[in-house]
């Protein structure tokens, strides 16, 4: 009878043997109950280790790890079944209302509602209208992210003004807010559970609306200089 040492037995258990050797080990197992016991012990151990650590992979990943990746560039979670930005239209409206009520009438906020549509105002509107991602100063109050074209030809831009990140599309003479998201720690109570990943959610929504690639620096400048008008809807 073939002698089966532990190395061989464990390689058998791990599926690392070629067919011939595997068949030999199987024969030896059939003939030797003691060997079968040794194998069972090792199988139990393997199952126990796997079962012990498996739940870690099922746990929700702590926000700090996700945030590290999401703020580094634009990592996105798995694709969603329905366009994210649709979800956010209602949310944006709620948030806008909150901002609107929360501010004195004499001090217009960055967001206003006109005929039921949320539009950018004041500093935010200026930034969306004039600022280029490629030349904005590091300390800019509002930072422009990506500029891209939607399926209907309109140009859209993502922005981030610290407490609020969002996505606005050019509409007539102004910028219509498609969605906004508050940042973690920015006092975003009330229902906005994904607050910490707000920026990533904005970018995911951008990805869903976008046709083609985002505008590069030259095309971004060109688009601004021609007043954000696009004559050629892409389809």
């Amino acid at each position: 009878m073939m002698r089966i040492d532990d190395d061989l037995l464990m390689a058998f258990l791990d599926g690392e043997l070629d067919e011939v050797t595997r068949a030999r080990v199987e024969r030896a197992l059939a003939e030797d109950p003691e060997l079968q016991v040794r194998l069972d012990i090792q199988r139990r151990l393997r199952d126990r280790l796997a079962a012990h650590y498996a739940p870690v992979a099922e746990e929700e990943v702590p926000e700090r790890f996700r945030a590290m990746l999401e703020t580094n560039v634009v990592a996105l979670p798995a694709a969603r079944s329905r366009p994210l930005w649709q979800t956010f239209v209602a949310l944006a409206a709620t948030l806008v209302l909150g901002l609107f009520i929360g501010r004195a009438i004499t001090s217009p906020g960055p967001i206003a509602v006109e005929d039921g549509i949320a539009v950018a105002r004041a500093e935010l509107a200026d930034a969306l209208e004039t600022q280029l991602a490629s030349t904005q100063p590091p300390g800019a109050v509002t930072r422009i992210g990506v500029t891209f074209q939607r399926g209907d030809g309109r140009l859209c831009r993502t922005f981030d003004s610290g407490a609020t990140a969002g996505l606005a599309c050019r509409d007539g003479a102004g910028w219509q807010l498609m969605m906004t998201a508050s940042r973690a720690g920015g006092g975003a109570e009330g229902g906005f559970r994904q607050a910490g990943t707000g920026n990533a959610l904005v970018l995911q929504a951008a990805q869903e609306l976008m046709t083609g690639e985002p505008l590069d620096a030259a095309r971004e400048r060109q688009a601004r200089d021609s007043g954000w008008r696009t004559n050629r809807p892409s389809r």
Binding site: E16, F65, A75, Q136
Partner: protein
Amino acid sequence: MKRAGASVSSARPGSRLLQAFERELLTLLPRLRRFARALARDAADADDVLQVALERALKAREQWAPGTRLDSWMMRIVRNCWIDEMRSRTRRLRTFVPEEEGEAIGSDSHREIELRAEMHDVDRAMNSLPPEQREAIVLVLVEGLAYREAAELLEIPMGTLTSRLTRGRQALAQMLEAA
């Protein structure tokens, strides 16, 4: 507060909005956490090491060749970070020692670990293993790597890997079957 703006604006003009690197890393996070947890002494250590590893990976992202296995690349970084962490604690905890010595002081570390009675049997048993046996076991038994993959990742010959696996498993089986 963290500057959220840096995230968007740091995307180079013309670069793809979705960066494969971050996206893929994000999907690997649950598995990397499991790997770190199995490698480290406890959950807090594991998450600390993962954080350091992610920072290192983001800085070294140019070294990752798209199309190659990001999981192996990342596990190697996590493992290196854990080794660095253990080295920096060597004096205090006496956990990182050469293989031969590691076995010699096995009874010592076992006693130390028995004091932590609240720990799970598996955690206790794993903590009593020399680190080089533990990492071999984690890669093959927890993460399911093939011997060849595990040996490559650890940069050791196959024979060394299998002997570490066998010795580690014998020790674990003894402890856990007795428990």
